[in-house]
């Protein structure tokens, strides 16, 4: 196979890139690969998940957003007050230092999470039994409210009335708990 850049030397560097399932293959000779920046050891050769991730975070300096970042850099200097992790360090390692980092960097991490989790930024799964507290009731309320809308649209008012009662009793429970906490 010949190099697809210079079409002279044989291709010895094969690079496969998969982005959201779209596979692109690049076949180059070594000099062309150097030139194009496909050679790994140029970057220190460490190809860990952390480095891959921190690659994702560098979108801020991409041409799309560079217009803002030249005049206004809100992120550098951002530092978690609990563990001392800075945003720059987080970007470099791809790892958070403690639970509080999620709040410290809250405004920055949505785009990262979206990339890693197919567009999702909010948790939709299990809530801890003990620590979850009122969240369990809130989730249940949301579910019943959705159900109530459905029943009303289908004009099943008898069933809707029952659901409405359930919603009321849950709301009361929630209010009682909130009062208790204060």
């Amino acid at each position: 196979m010949e190099c697809q850049e210079c079409h002279q030397r044989p291709a010895t560097v094969h690079f496969t890139q998969v982005i959201n399932g779209n596979k692109t293959e690049v076949h180059l000779c070594e000099p062309c690969a150097q030139e194009k920046g496909y050679m790994m050891d140029q970057y220190g050769g460490d190809f860990s998940i952390g480095n891959l991730l921190s690659g994702l975070f560098n979108f801020e300096s991409s041409p799309l957003t560079s217009g803002h970042s030249t005049t206004f850099t809100p992120n550098s200097g951002l530092k978690c007050e609990k563990c001392g992790m800075t945003y720059d360090e987080f970007k470099r390692t791809g790892k958070f230092g403690c639970a509080h980092c999620y709040q410290t960097f809250d405004a920055q991490i949505d785009p990262i999470l979206r990339r890693v989790h197919s567009g999702n930024t909010r948790h939709n799964g299990k809530i801890p039994e003990r620590m979850g507290g009122n969240l369990h009731i809130q989730r249940e309320l949301e579910r019943y409210r959705g159900e109530l809308q459905d029943l009303i649209q289908r004009e099943e008012f008898e069933k809707a009335a029952k659901i409405r009662d359930k919603i009321r009793s849950l709301e009361n429970e929630l209010n009682r708990k909130k009062d208790g906490e204060e």
């Binding site: 403690c98 890693v116 799964g125 299990k126």
Partner: protein, 355 residues
Amino acid sequence: MSLQQFINEAVSPWMKEDGPDSDIVLSSRIRLARNFAHVPFPIIASEDQLGKILEFFSQEFEHQAFGDYQRFELVQISDLKPIEKRVLVEKHLISPNLAENTDTGAALISQNEQVSVMINEEDHIRIQLYYPGLQLERALDKASEFDNWLEEKIDYAFDEKRGYLTSCPTNVGTGMRASVMMHLPALVLTQQMNQVIPAINQLGLVVRGIYGEGSEALGNIFQISNQITLGKSEQDIVEDLKSVVQQLIERERNARQMIMNQSGIKLEDKIFRSYGVLAHSRVIESKEASRCLSDVRLGIDLGLIQNVSKTILNELMVLTQPGFLQQYAKKALSPEERDVRRAELIRERLKLEKE
């Protein structure tokens, strides 16, 4: 005594049970990543802080029991010899990453080795729970119950918006990685894996080799797991994975049937040649051994080879790994010595079967 069991037995007790679709799915696993709310994550925490976590586990959970899981044993990495560490990694009871944390790393392992809680890995807590065959829902239910049991005594790092908080943003949300180990020789033989893997990737799932990230698919064994942990419920993630696995099972069965119909005698020849190699070779590399073991296991599943137990693939795949061979020899071995030992061990194991 229990550490001896973890190290001497190649096959974990739970693996000896038969599970659904176990001709193709070797095991199902649920992993949950959890952290203490008020302690920095292991990458940044001090040795002192991590030592306290270890102490906490030793006080609260060592020698405790939960449901079917009798008597948890706390194995500290600092107490292990290099070969012993390697053995636990080969059995998937600890990760290579944890084995490197020689100061504060530990694992809380149930007697039947079905549950292993890694302590002070990338996250403070990583619960791993295994079931034989395709039993993802059951594994999820059990893992969740076990998680609740731990939570009675631990304040987890949890946030309404982001879910369970983890050191790496790739695990946040459910903190769950569900995975299955599949033996897919016919899909490899018919060169379908090359099409299957990109299709699976597109569905937000990952395909890897038997020893995780970056490892080769030794013995035609593939690990398939979810990539996304945020925004979907645990049940939905498991459901999506299961439906893909079921399609793969069907494809693999069809491919096996097709090869049998089209080139039955050639396949039979390949299988028995491999059986011959295993039964008679004097020097064998691990790559060749796993290829032959995969063939023999396929032969058993197709009914061509009888009197050999189905667990031979699972068992010998682990037993012929470098760590285990050295544990067996009770000394360090050079790669050449290992290849001789490996051949010897396989021959002995196959002789045992015939009697």
